[in-house]
Amino acid sequence: MELVRRAIERYVPLSDTDWSHVAQCWQEYAFVRGAHVSRIGEVEQHFYIVKSGVQRLSFPHDGEDICLGFSYDGSWSGAYDSFVSRKPSRIDVLAITDSVLFGIRYDDLQRSFNELPAMARFGRLILEELLVGRTTREIEQLSLSAGQRYQRLVDRSPQLLQLVPQKDIASYLRMKPETFSRLRAKRS
């Protein structure tokens, strides 16, 4: 549970009183490799932070899984757009290794936003971060070459290369698995 507090305090300081209110809303969830954390068509009930394991965010298209991203130790997880819009999720979140996540339910998180100014600020900062992240990724997808996109991943999240199947990373980088293998071979 200290992990949750540290994660929130990367954005805002929390007093012990604030934390005692927030802490009781977070619960641990375990997912066996292959289990869905979130499922297409279902409204996301939780906002998660990852304690251990790797999860893949994806949606099926033309018989393939298009990979939108990954979550792993210390990062946020879940189908966030469904969580905030309360509409059925358009993406699956799948545990690709055994995973332990801390989760807070929608109503509990909203209540903490309403009651605790620090948490409201946390909520706003998370949204801002996600927006900047999305835009950055969109620009990179549209402007960088395959080689540059690969290099960005190696610089930013080298651990993913060890944790995630190659075909998922290739899909995430919007390249064919063969292109990915070639780039990888060239680099090493």
Partner: protein, 187 residues
């Protein structure tokens, strides 16, 4: 056997299983993912397996109660069907705690081949057990001999409603013993 006694005994077993599940839910998530040996089910998978299998009986009982339960009046005596009784008894462990009858899991009840298991499997188990208890209460107004329900043994085998309660609850009891062994070997 006495129908009301049976209903009371099964409800009590379910309550105990719910209580135990709520305690297990509070264990560290890592403990619930640990396997006693490679390839063996961990705790959440055992729960998911129970849900998949018991779900067949819960759905079957639910729809039969909707359709036909009103047609029969309460019968204070329940006489198990021979097949239902055979399979229920086969679930019981021997006096020394050994499992009498190791069975191979049917594909459709194997969690890794289905949607996968998580701590939500425990939450769903509790919900389903509450629904079983609600149906047991309704069983006090019908005939558990004459109401019949599909079984997990195939489309041709229908259990008497009484056995459609007894079998999955005995099956769950057997798997709770497995869960205790899994937790004891890993925690």
């Amino acid at each position: 056997m006495d129908s009301l006694q049976l209903i009371a005994d099964l409800s009590k077993t379910l309550r105990q299983q719910i209580d135990r599940t709520n305690i297990i839910r509070q264990l560290p998530a890592e403990a619930l993912l640990q396997r006693p040996a490679p390839g063996k089910w961990n705790t959440v998978e055992v729960f998911e397996h129970m849900n998949l299998s018991s779900g067949v009986y819960l759905n079957g009982l639910g729809s039969e109660f909707e359709k036909g339960a009103g047609a029969f009046s309460f019968n204070s005596e329940f006489k198990p069907g021979w097949l239902g009784n055979y399979f229920t008894n086969a679930m019981r462990p021997r006096a020394n705690g050994d499992i009498s009858w190791r069975m191979k899991t049917m594909r459709m009840f194997d969690p890794p081949r289905n949607q996968g298991a998580s701590t939500q499997s425990l939450d769903r188990f509790v919900q389903m057990s509450e629904q079983f208890i609600a149906l047991l209460n309704r069983a006090k107004r019908t005939d558990l001999n004459r109401l019949r329900v599909i079984s997990t043994l195939g489309p041709l085998v229908r259990f008497k409603a009484g056995d459609a309660f007894r079998f999955p609850i005995a099956h769950q009891e057997r798997h709770f013993q497995q869960i205790e062994r899994v937790l004891a070997s890993t925690v």
